[in-house]
Symmetry: D2
Subunit: 462 residues, 4 copies
Amino acid sequence: MSVTFLSDFVAGLNQKGRNLLLRNRFGRQQPLDPEALCEALVSRAGEVSCFMLSETILSHWEGLDEAGQADFLTMIAHRFGPDRKAIAKAIAAVEESDDAEALYRLHAASEPRSQELIRRLNHALQGTERLVRMREVLLRLARTDPALDTLDRDFAHLFGAWFNRGFLELKPIDWNTSAAILEKIIRYEAVHEIGGWNDLRRRIEPKDRRLFAFFHPQMQDEPLIFVEVALTDHIPGDIASLLSEDREVLAQEKATTAVFYSISNCQAGLRGISFGNFLIKQVVEKLRQELPNLRHFMTLSPVPGFAAWLNGLPAGESQRLLSAQNLERMRALAGPGLPDNDDARANLKPVLEGLAAYYLLEQRNARKRPLDSVARFHLGNGARLDNIHAFADLSAKGRKSGYSVMVNYLYDTKEIEANHEAYAERGVVAASGTVKSLLKQFLFRTQAAAKSNPEPEAHHAL
Amino acid sequence: MSVTFLSDFVAGLNQKGRNLLLRNRFGRQQPLDPEALCEALVSRAGEVSCFMLSETILSHWEGLDEAGQADFLTMIAHRFGPDRKAIAKAIAAVEESDDAEALYRLHAASEPRSQELIRRLNHALQGTERLVRMREVLLRLARTDPALDTLDRDFAHLFGAWFNRGFLELKPIDWNTSAAILEKIIRYEAVHEIGGWNDLRRRIEPKDRRLFAFFHPQMQDEPLIFVEVALTDHIPGDIASLLSEDREVLAQEKATTAVFYSISNCQAGLRGISFGNFLIKQVVEKLRQELPNLRHFMTLSPVPGFAAWLNGLPAGESQRLLSAQNLERMRALAGPGLPDNDDARANLKPVLEGLAAYYLLEQRNARKRPLDSVARFHLGNGARLDNIHAFADLSAKGRKSGYSVMVNYLYDTKEIEANHEAYAERGVVAASGTVKSLLKQFLFRTQAAAKSNPEPEAHHAL
Amino acid sequence: MSVTFLSDFVAGLNQKGRNLLLRNRFGRQQPLDPEALCEALVSRAGEVSCFMLSETILSHWEGLDEAGQADFLTMIAHRFGPDRKAIAKAIAAVEESDDAEALYRLHAASEPRSQELIRRLNHALQGTERLVRMREVLLRLARTDPALDTLDRDFAHLFGAWFNRGFLELKPIDWNTSAAILEKIIRYEAVHEIGGWNDLRRRIEPKDRRLFAFFHPQMQDEPLIFVEVALTDHIPGDIASLLSEDREVLAQEKATTAVFYSISNCQAGLRGISFGNFLIKQVVEKLRQELPNLRHFMTLSPVPGFAAWLNGLPAGESQRLLSAQNLERMRALAGPGLPDNDDARANLKPVLEGLAAYYLLEQRNARKRPLDSVARFHLGNGARLDNIHAFADLSAKGRKSGYSVMVNYLYDTKEIEANHEAYAERGVVAASGTVKSLLKQFLFRTQAAAKSNPEPEAHHAL
Amino acid sequence: MSVTFLSDFVAGLNQKGRNLLLRNRFGRQQPLDPEALCEALVSRAGEVSCFMLSETILSHWEGLDEAGQADFLTMIAHRFGPDRKAIAKAIAAVEESDDAEALYRLHAASEPRSQELIRRLNHALQGTERLVRMREVLLRLARTDPALDTLDRDFAHLFGAWFNRGFLELKPIDWNTSAAILEKIIRYEAVHEIGGWNDLRRRIEPKDRRLFAFFHPQMQDEPLIFVEVALTDHIPGDIASLLSEDREVLAQEKATTAVFYSISNCQAGLRGISFGNFLIKQVVEKLRQELPNLRHFMTLSPVPGFAAWLNGLPAGESQRLLSAQNLERMRALAGPGLPDNDDARANLKPVLEGLAAYYLLEQRNARKRPLDSVARFHLGNGARLDNIHAFADLSAKGRKSGYSVMVNYLYDTKEIEANHEAYAERGVVAASGTVKSLLKQFLFRTQAAAKSNPEPEAHHAL
């Protein structure tokens, strides 16, 4: 809305509203009282007041330093929580008669006032995007403040509705996309860093490379999540050959495999609002329609928790799994110590892949799900763990977090739903014969070593 | 999603899911059990199941006859209401300790399961639009069934979120708009009927006529509400001259006044989800930007409850307000009996306008608001009742419901918010001096008549 | 360009230019001298003058009555023809030395000045469209005035360049197309009249009906030519079943045949600028891509010159071809006299179809091409005459001009080019075995009749 | 068109056409004969042949090396020139009777066949763009081959028609423009080099910077010409402050002046096809509409021929104009020798500006126009030389070609047309009082020096 329009409207506010707003917006003689403004926003009904107040509150918030923002959020958490009096009254009514009406009132009464506050803040210009930014700060602060964690539930609940699947729009990103969007892709790539415009171009311009992102109608210039795809004629076992500068471009009609080699969430403020599962399935469908020759849809994914897990094991446990020499070698991998001859690599390969299979298939968290976050994501989506590759990501990051291991998760539409349900209901991890066999051999060698070396501190065969 | 894609996915469902779905979708050997399907939909988590189940349930619903649809909705209302056990448990927890966590759980527990059901039905193709159609039926049935009225609250709550202001897109409708949209405009016009394509053309093609509609991203082909605007160089006092076939088109730069002469809600299933106030304000702003010469923004509105109100008055009351002769004349107006000479019109005019002022300003409902629905809409938006015109709508409908009276509501951006607040908080009706004066003279004449004719049955001076 | 901009520019013209323009545009004290304006336009170089002058000349022209427009065009034809002096000089130079330079100058010198005039008139706003309108008038007048015919060559030459294939944009027209375009489709349909919006809707909304039009970037709101297509599962032998109101819509995947049942040129001012051959081929290609099941692409076309041809034959010739009774019956067909029983129809059918085959295949004009304009169009495009149907168009127009006969021209991409070349180079008409056989039987019967009735005046067997 | 479509069509060609094409396109057993293909293209009529032949010829051409391309063009120039026989016959006919018909035939006969050849080559996919590339090569070769110069006229004539003003589309280029277009802007910038994406961003993202380009509908991805604009609140006298990385962005409403600081032609193959004058005027108009506060529209332009002119003067002449010391100083400027103190600068400033005024206003070419190409461009467009600034472009290029001098050309809509006409008809250079005064003082000093030092070899006062 234009400035004229707003100033006309301001003229139409009653004196109290005018005092509240104008003094602070234009004169600033007196300090702004954010609590009073928020109180006015949740309790008053006028469309224009609503717009002016939300605008004022958000502008105020955006001008605060970090401490000020923390204070503001804490104030909201404490002053706009549930209305205990109203709840007690509603409970009393239910205890008298639990008819639908009373129960409905109880539901309404128990809604924290912060929800309505957030809803109304959304009336400001670009309100949704500004609230996503607010939650970004909130999530950071909530790590150390449980009161803010409760407030975050309101954001999460409302964002779940606002960013529901039906509103997300899948858009291909390529060299014809606007520079404004592309520079955000460069910035948001979280898996395999994009080193500037030329590197980006290599990932989106060739006919055998694709990038798709979800957008939301109220945040047109901000990708929410994106996936990078390589079309290949084989199942790739390492990332460097995919990203190589001098690789040959594959003719589209020869592509048999779509490799999802990088998935990045872009908005920290949308953490926990799930898009990734829709994204991959919609991209699979889109590619199938365009390229009927495609037969395999799979990822080439990191195993980001692999090294941290091994390092966190008690000494006895890690020694049970690995010989001292192999443990040494793996730790060297995390640093600059790549095996310098083929033999050493050949020896280390089954150890790495077997241990990764053990980590991904056998190790579980308290909720009986794998420890690795990327594994949980794809398995939860219905994918199958299809293959494991040692020496697949030789970047510093890849070696440090995953000892250079990468894996393929396969999206087979015929089994996605069955996999998903088995995983969701019973924690079953779908895995290919290849992976199961890697695990079996690993366990066999481990047991063999244990038998031949009954004393745990002794040297290992592995 | 393509047929191939779906049938692949169906192949991936587990046996139970497959039995549930396939039998009914493709074989139909056994009757479909909608309750079981809905139960599966709210309790199961898989993306594909969710899509398939919602699709199956909505297709089933759409194939039902009216009795079947009523049964279905009643089933939902009874089987997917609040979970009393869970609520009782949550109440017990709160009574033990009313910390934020317990209160939050109470809020979650008291949400009727039907809300989650509706959310998930929205995953079907065109889900939002199909649910709007479902609510259309629900609203019709709810008039006579209080259980369905409770269910409607869930729809209303969710639709309020899905159709929030930020998602609505204002689009100008003109002769370059698609025929598919235009035929809906013809069909949905609710105030001054559009008599086919030529009539429509007269309302949207000339440079001094405009039509704006709100659309929602998930219902691209369905206008939600629209307003028709005439640009004029005067404040019009009747509708016929605005719609006349042979009127002269006004050059845009001569226009000083934008007249909103028709506002129509298009979707019965969105009743109670308010768009109208945003619509008028956004159109005002749009027109101001395009045509800086515009100075007045006002409606030419019907008074749809006028005749019904007068007819519903006790005899004594109507006789107090009007002489028998005038009462007779007004009732004649509702039929074909338009005064056939200028004198008769001139005599009747102040009576009609004064009585209308009395009806709009003095008569109130239980909530202290005017009786007339159109008046409540515009006054609630912050408009002012600016003028009243007798013999302004001589169509059968206009005479029958409003005794030919039309009124102007003025949208003055400088006072919209103050008017709105005074109305919302205290029921104050903003009215111009002209209208107040019409009322004053009317009351004066009525009292004068009462004094000179103390016996109610006697003849009146008016 | 805005009015301000223009008036500033006008202020910048020198006095002579200003006098020329302003007096006439705004004051009109003196009569405008179109010849002087045109002279100024072809000889002066300034961008703004060029714009102002072209605008002034075209506005002036559009305000003239028909006689005035004829005078204007005659003036152009006489005053802006070839520059004889310059040509003579260029010829002299060539005769001295026919080097490339001299020949080039001769080419330049021999260009009529009217070409440059038209080029510059094109600088006015909407210049191209206005010049198309001008040529519409010119073509009408040129029928009786050979000087204007010469002028028309300049228009035709320039329009050929401006409307070259590369600029034409093929757009599908359907129920989502703007009303502004659709009403022009209704107006321009030249083969099977569209009886209003509902009739139009039946031709563009069902999934088995299509309409495609060519547009030009400088005439965005004006279709140039369009074709209507029916998708069917058989080869249709009459038009009524295609256009029937209560026909069943065919599922797209069942369609095997695309029937081009109506092709209409929209712009009289673009006569002779050929688009039709590109149109059909592009539509064929577009439909093949969308619907790979389509196997046959053919027209259902009128034979518009059939009746006129028969009526124009010398009596002896028509009697040689038809018995008196059949001649009588056919003439009755042209009026309201449709055979009222199946037997009569069955008897007349081979006569009608055989005579049509004879007319289309055997009768030729001076350039050895068929007499029928529709036949020349499709055969010239490379189509084959595939079938002939009696009683296929029972509308008054169809009976009167074509004795109810319609034909199929088949576009078989495998033979289009060979057909085209054989036709273009040697006048060969491609025809199916069916059509050839119709002709053969017809000729056989005719000869048989002739033999058995050697005297031409006698009765015939046919 | 799809491959299927083409191969079907190829199957439809007659044997001779098939031999011609297929052998070369797919088998290549025999060498392709481009002359025969071109001959076939100009003489045959079929739409498909036309497409196939043009496609084949252009593909062949694009595969040739530079020598091969030169041979091809020479072949065209010699074999497809004017048809001398036909011309002689047409001349004979004209000499018999010079009626319109005969003259028209002479015009047609004298058109070189190469024109029709180019027209038909344009039927290939992306034909226009490929022909622009062909002319790029042709122009390079034509410098040394007059026969090719004649051929270029045909290109120039046809491109003039195809790229006429009505087809050009002005598009704003900003940070929301596609990367594919933006990288071309980086590449094509010809005045002040753009040093990568960050530098580009500084020129198009801030609100006080604009870039506009012309596009053609058949070359959607290729800008034809673009202009860079800075919005300022003063008339800038040097380029560095405009392009400075750390300058402050000006609020749009404070901008009073639009500075066109860089204009680049993008397509070498469109040399001589004029767009620049339309471009500036349309941008002026666009900016005026958007920002009514803008009052001045002017360039900040280089004087690219300044140094070359001075260096090319006979020694006597340069000594007449400048003292030896100043001549020395200026030559130092062209190298790294910028005056290192303010006094030296202050002394050199009037010399530089005066000499530039003399160069721009007084020095003329054979056609009585200024020597400087940039000056001819803007003065020919109707601009006025408004100011001259020494030390305005201190880049190596700016010092070397223009001794650091830059000038402002002012576009004043009130005088554009008058300036243009005075320039076009009489070579009058419009200049401001400031510039005239610079010249006057310069001449005064020069004459004074000449008087006091009558012997040319002696030292100068200047």
